[in-house]
Amino acid sequence: MTAATAHAPATQKKKGVFAALEIDTRLLGMIGAFVVLCLAFNFITDGRFLTPRNIFNLTIQTVSVAIMATGMVFIIVTRHIDLSVGSLLATSSAVMAMAQTAILPDLLGVGLDSPTVAALAIVIGLMTGTAIGAFQGWLVGYLLIPAFIVTLGGLLVWRNVAWYLTSGQTIGPLNEYYLLFGGINGTLGETLSWAFALVATVAALWALVASRRNKVAHEMPVKPLWAEGAIGLLIAVTIFGFVALLVAYQIPSGRLERMFVARGEVLPEGFTQGYGIPISVLMLIVLAVLMTVVSRKTRFGRYVFATGGNPDAAELSGINTRMLTVKVFALMGFLCALSAVVASARLTNHTNDIGTLDELRVIAAAVIGGTALSGGVGTIYGAILGALIMQSLQSGMAMVGVDAPFQNIVVGMVLVVAVLVDILYRKRTGGKA
């Protein structure tokens, strides 16, 4: 975004390099903006912003909105909108909370903290979210009610269904296995985190090689070898750097002691352990990869983009665009429920106002991430980066001590300016806004 224009004077020489790397300059701009933002906050807070602790917190705060933002990309790409995601999250969360505290333990005759209860509650929640999403998609796709109206109705309906289900009460404490998905209560620890970094790097490099081989096999142009190598190196450094940061955040000794006591052991002298990758963040990473594959490598994803680009052409090409709408909204519902797991586990309770205003954060994340409201354009990584930027802005301002009203004023303005910059950028690169 802003950084893309900042680099402009030096383009002549750099153009060749970026062109060879074939990195999306828009992505580069966003990363640039994000880095500038972080450095600025870090400077203002005298280095408190870029500590392992704060970065750890930032990532777990981002997960819930980011999960939904990946689904919102598909919704907006097909020229729809979903205003009901925050409410859908609340209903899913309420259903799961009721299931695991009031219904399942009695039904199964097991304790509140049984892993079966957690698993079943999550399955029920995911099914609820998917079903509601599919229903809204049916209203949009088959009855042709505009998505704006259907989901505006949904915003009210599901928020209050959640309220009704729980009588407005906070429900908790939740199942201890369920809480593993909340962030700080469920992390991989050091060894597993490094193992993940290794596996992820190998997989990413393998994907690079496989894609190059496939292109060569079909005699298509490929990047120069040094460019592939540079990208590979960049990926490896990013993954290991990220994991290193999360591992660097140390579990406090009091908490470690309690963990050892719970296992009937004694904390050895001088023993330290980093948190490592939170399970919720791991979930987001896996989801991001899956959704990217879905959007680029499957028929479903291809049809989502085709329909967004030209609904008539998609229909005439034999794509069942009505069913596609149902599927896209069902996927969104599923992701709302998944997000509900993370959000309520992070709070360790279901609260009546959970997910309030999330629809705006989610839409903003997708849009800042480059999803065009006119349809047909958007990326999963963009939306996640958008969510991260929004969250950093919010936490950074809170840390600096900006007054609450000003925080929201700034976030609102950033959204508008981001879209303006995006429009200007697309005009310059000749794309369609």
């Binding site: 049809y303 329909t307 030209n310 008539d312 052409a313 998609a314 090409s317 354009v377 794309g431």
Partner: protein, 255 residues
């Protein structure tokens, strides 16, 4: 009609009618098409040509009438049904997804996939390069979204899509509207070649000269109704023009 007996027609459109609200866009039109034949559809703007062929391509559902393919009555309720009967269409509006590249458009709805069901991008692009090399050797923009293509380049993508999948029945709605003289000649040659291969082609074209050259028969429509079907060899360009404007069959054929 006046066509000689050539066995079962490839396509028979019988008494097709379709109204949009108060407008009778197509009014009891009957046309047939034989293998290896090109039938031109003529008529003024808004005569109902596109609407008629959209009933065959599954874009619209006719109000009444029936469609027979190789003598058998078929139901065409959507574009998928049409494709199943090997009907391919080049729409007047081209019907391309602007945000996708040429190969994504060419294979839209029929993507090539690998063993695990993932889209095989490289294979699709290779195939696209092959067919475009035949249809439009100057085409280079394989990785750009089609919004970045010229009108003629877009047209060649639409034509490639119709030709690639071994159509038996081809519908071309003003296929040369956006093309330069050289490209127009290429399309004309292509139509001749496909005809020799035994395809049946419905060709909508406002260029009467071209219709005279490419078509075996011409069906003329006016205000949704069929004026008549004539052997192109039996009429002059002026006769055709008269049919389009006056809506009457020429004197010497009026029987």
């Amino acid at each position: 009609m006046s066509s000689p007996d050539r066995g079962t027609p490839l396509v028979e459109l019988r008494d097709i009618s379709l109204a949009f609200g108060g407008i009778q866009a197509v009014d009891r039109v009957t046309v047939d098409l034989y293998p290896g034949e090109v039938v031109g559809l003529l008529g003024h703007n808004g005569a109902g040509k596109s609407t008629l062929i959209k009933c065959l391509s599954g874009a619209y559902r006719m109000d009444s009438g029936e469609i027979r393919i190789n003598g058998e009555k078929v139901e065409i309720n959507n574009p998928r049904d049409a494709r199943r009967h090997n009907i391919e269409t080049i729409y007047q509006t081209l019907a391309l997804a602007d945000n996708l590249d040429a190969s994504a458009n060419l294979f839209l709805g029929r993507e090539l996939t690998n063993a695990i069901g993932m889209i095989d991008e490289a294979q699709m692009e290779a195939e696209t390069r092959r067919i475009m090399g035949r249809l439009n050797p100057n085409f280079r923009k394989f990785s750009a979204p089609v919004s970045a293509l010229s009108g003629g380049q877009r047209q060649s993508v639409a034509i490639a899509r119709a030709v690639y999948f071994n159509a038996k029945i081809l519908i071309m709605d003003e296929p040369t509207a956006a093309l330069g003289p050289q490209e127009t000649r290429m399309v004309a040659e292509l139509i001749d070649e496909l005809k020799r291969q035994g395809l049946g082609i419905f060709l909508i074209d406002h260029d009467i000269h071209q219709v005279k050259q490419l078509c075996d028969r011409a069906a003329v429509m006016k205000n949704g109704a069929l004026v008549g079907i004539v052997e192109v060899a039996d009429v002059t360009e002026d006769d055709l023009l008269g049919m389009i404007i006056a809506g009457k069959r020429p004197e010497h054929l009026a029987a």
